[in-house]
């Protein structure tokens, strides 16, 4: 059984149909990428899975259980954690406080343990533990957003454009970390503009176009697909 399954999910903003019948799945241990142009509905998909955006049709299943009507906090408690587009760190809080908020539903002991893992993945965050998050550089904020999501002990970690606005070297670093996070046992659902790099570290991918999935396959297949190369890899 898939860890996460979307069945004919529909999601609207008023009269705008952002998602029109989306079905896909993410299996335990995979890295799955959603690619698509601006406005295709990638963020809406993530928000609908996280429960920030209500569902207007279809179903979302976690391990076969229908979670479509659950509140966000219940989903977080069950391991669905989103690192949102644009980082959204708490600017007035220190780095450490931001991380601790990520572990809001966890016990203190668990947080101490996870914190060590996060500091090991992102030594920069440890150096800057006391600094206000709002004063971090863009790359550091992104690391913080990912680290904060990890503090929630995700079974499914959703990352919405983790490389946005970052220098190529840092992008490489972030993607290497995503692979390490998966190797540590977390399933990853990734949204990326940077399709080529994302596909290289993914197992499978789906292509979204104006609220529909138009293509899917293994990452290796999509990397060589002509349609994908033309539309998303700039070849």
């Amino acid at each position: 059984m898939a860890l996460l399954q979307l069945e004919q999910v529909v999601s609207n903003y008023g009269s705008i149909n952002a998602l029109r019948d989306i079905s896909f799945e993410v299996n335990e241990g995979e890295i799955v990428t959603l690619i698509g142009a601006n406005g295709a509905g990638k963020t809406t998909t993530m928000h609908t899975i996280a429960g920030l955006k209500e569902l207007n049709g279809g179903k979302i299943l976690l391990n076969g259980q229908d979670i479509s009507r659950w509140e966000t906090q219940a989903r977080v408690k069950n391991g669905i954690v989103l690192s949102p587009e644009g980082r959204q760190v708490f600017p007035d809080f220190s780095v450490l406080d931001n991380l601790m908020m990520g572990g809001y539903l966890q016990t203190n002991e668990t947080n101490q343990q996870t914190l060590e893992t996060v500091y090991e993945l992102f030594p920069r965050l440890k150096e800057r533990a006391a600094q206000a998050a709002g004063t971090l550089s863009g790359g550091e904020q992104q690391m913080l957003a990912v680290g904060r999501a990890l503090m929630g002990k995700p079974r499914l970690l959703m990352l919405d454009e983790p490389s946005m606005g970052l220098a190529p070297l840092i992008v490489k670093e972030i993607f290497a970390l995503i692979q390490r996070i998966r190797d540590l046992g977390t399933t990853v659902l990734l949204v990326e503009q940077n399709a080529r790099v994302a596909l290289r570290i993914s197992d499978r991918a789906y292509v979204l176009e104006t609220g529909r999935i138009v293509l899917s396959g293994t990452a290796a297949e999509l990397l060589v697909s002509e349609d994908v190369q033309k539309a998303y890899l700039g070849m």
Binding site: A50, G51, L52, E71, T72, Q73, V76, K77, V81, L82, P84, Q88, V89, F90, P91, D92, F93, D97, M100, M101, G102, Y104, L105, R148, A149, G152
Partner: protein
């Protein structure tokens, strides 16, 4: 004489501060101007009086029950009305108008039950007056100041040192991100209303005792003055509301005794306008407020 006036001003100012803190906390988590806050303050005062008379003089019990009951009214106001507006993604202005509606309902319920006459209020904290040097000090003033300071310390601890306080501050900074941490944002907001209404009840009761009377117009004036206090200190900032409340109390008392008592209420707003002109974010405000 001057010292006495300063003490008078700080006493009344500390009660403004309590109400202003509640106002600012709600604004912090919701960016909502709660026009019902003044009515809730008055309601708290009336409920204490009603329970005190009804229970044959158990003042402390009446006071505690009244604080809780008023808190529940605030909580219910959010759960029954405002949370639904949020769920429907109604514009902020709709929420603001809704709080005006709630204020009208509360004012009229009070009018219905208690009538429009000024009611005598028992002063349970009057243990006489004494002198420090030349300065006459009233025990009621000391009790009010002590209670207000204690509550401010407790609230600061709650906000800055507890998990609930951190969840409130997260919600204030970014509600969606707070949700993604697993914070039950709707509950946090309702609890904020609960706390702010309890504070208002404490202030409403203490002021009733201090003046030994309560009347139906108290809510509106105090609502406006505490809003002025919060803006003066910087809306959404806890220390801002505290200092703002104290300053408004101080200035209006000094103004009333040294300029003219007729200007008491006008002075608070004159100060407000001056501060907004020269420091739009308020004394403690960090950034410009461009919301609402």
């Amino acid at each position: 004489m001057l010292l006495e006036q300063i003490l008078n001003g700080l006493t009344i100012g500390s009660t403004y501060a309590l109400v202003a803190i509640g106002f600012t906390m709600v604004f912090g988590v919701l960016e909502l101007i709660n026009f019902a806050n003044g009515s809730i303050y008055m309601l708290g005062g009336y409920i204490t009086l009603m329970l005190y008379l009804g229970m044959g003089g158990h003042f402390l019990l009446a006071f505690v029950l009244s604080i809780l009951l008023t808190g529940v009214v605030g909580f219910a106001m959010d759960r029954i009305v405002l949370s639904h507006l949020r769920a429907k993604k109604a514009p902020k202005l709709t929420g603001l108008i809704a709080t005006m509606g709630i204020a009208t309902v509360i004012d009229n319920v009070i009018l219905l039950f208690f009538g429009s006459q000024t009611k005598p209020y028992p002063n349970m904290i009057d243990f006489g007056r004494f002198y420090i040097g030349e300065t006459a000090v009233n025990s009621s003033q000391l009790v009010i100041l002590a209670v207000a300071i204690l509550l401010m310390v407790l609230l600061s601890l709650l906000t800055y040192c507890t998990k609930l306080g951190k969840a409130m501050r997260c919600t204030a900074q970014n509600a969606d991100a707070a949700r993604l941490m697993g914070i039950n944002v709707n509950l946090i907001i309702a609890l904020t209303f609960f706390i702010s209404s309890m504070l208002a009840a404490v202030a409403g009761t203490m002021v009733g005792m201090y003046y030994q009377s309560i009347d139906i117009n108290a809510g509106f004036t105090v609502g406006m003055k505490t809003m002025a206090s919060a803006v003066l200190g910087g809306v959404g900032v806890l220390p801002g509301a505290m200092v703002g409340g104290l300053l408004v109390g101080l200035f209006e008392t000094l103004g009333a005794s040294y300029i003219s008592s007729g200007y008491r209420d006008a002075i608070a707003f004159a100060i407000l306008i001056l501060v907004i002109l020269f420091k739009p974010a308020g004394l403690f405000g960090k950034k410009k407020i461009n919301k609402v």
